[in-house]
């Protein structure tokens, strides 16, 4: 359990209270929080709840699967690259298909390795970002605005200002998540393409055409 998970229950309570005030009283026109709300499409409590569920261990698990698979693909490519033990047109056709299969396996190995690196980088970033968000939540929880929000005798205007301030601070952090996610999406490797353009039924057709049937 990291700092974000530890803080989440208390933060959730405060942010739900803050969101309630925000929803009732709104924010002045042109205020930063309105832009942040439009960008993220969520109130701070909902957003934090989603980020809390973003488990970097799941990303590490994917990276590990891909690294294992890259090795197995390379083994298969090596196996497929061994020479065929017979000659003739059927053997040639078979060799073409086998080479294409070996190439595809190598491509899958390279793609798996590349994806594994990106998943590991993403997992590392998520860990750092979670720590930063935890620090933000800790500062919000111990702020004067939190006291204002939790004090029912405070004037509505003061409570509204506190809610806007808390929401803005949390959503600024969420904005960093948003930008980072966009950058990761832009730099993510393109999906691997097929390298086998023709159906594999071809060799057996050639074998039959060769007069063996």
């Amino acid at each position: 359990m990291d700092a974000l998970e530890l803080l989440e229950p208390a933060a959730s309570e405060l942010l739900s209270r803050s969101d309630g005030v925000l929803a009732r009283s709104g924010a002045p026109e042109g205020h930063e929080i309105l832009r942040l709300l439009r960008l993220t499409g969520r109130l701070p409590a909902d957003l934090v709840a989603e980020i809390v569920t973003w488990n970097p261990a799941a990303l590490d698990a994917r990276a590990e699967v891909l690294r294992e698979q890259a090795e197995r693909h390379r083994d298969i490519a090596s196996e497929l690259s061994k020479p065929v033990p017979w000659e003739g047109p059927a053997a040639s056709a078979f060799g073409v298909r086998l080479n294409a299969a070996a190439k595809q396996s190598e491509e899958l190995a390279d793609s798996a390795s590349s994806l594994a690196v990106h998943y590991t980088e993403l997992a590392s970033w998520v860990r750092v970002a979670r720590r930063q968000l935890a620090q933000t939540l800790a500062s919000v929880l111990s702020s004067a605005e939190a006291v204002t929000l939790c004090t029912v005798t405070m004037a509505p205007l003061e409570r509204s200002a506190a809610a806007i301030r808390i929401g803005t601070i949390v959503l600024r952090d969420a904005e960093r998540f948003h930008h980072a996610c966009t950058e990761f999406a832009a730099s993510w490797p393109q999906p691997i393409a097929a390298v086998m353009p023709t159906p594999l039924a071809m060799p057996s057709a050639i074998i039959r055409a060769e007069g063996l049937a």
Partner: protein, 82 residues
């Protein structure tokens, strides 16, 4: 090494690829939160391509192994015909 050995090798490689495809399918649960829709779709697309091509390669090797077994059998039958 005869044709049957090659077919056996390809069949074994195909089985490994099918297992790898299953492993990718088992791990394909959502890895990003809902708010990161663009990142989620990017990750899903690259994962799905890896899964699809791994399975397709497995299928192709299985079919190739079957073709070689048939060809080997026909060689045997042709030899017996002489």
């Amino acid at each position: 090494m005869g044709m049957a050995d090659v077919a056996g090798r390809l069949g074994a490689a195909s089985a490994v690829l099918q297992t790898m495809g299953d492993q990718l399918a088992d791990t394909s649960d959502r890895a990003t939160p809902h708010f990161a829709t663009e990142l989620a779709s990017t990750l899903d697309a690259s994962w799905a391509a890896q899964l699809e091509l791994t399975k397709r390669l497995g299928d192709e090797l299985m079919e190739l192994a079957a073709s070689i077994r048939i060809a080997a059998q026909r060689y045997v039958e042709a030899d017996q015909g002489f």
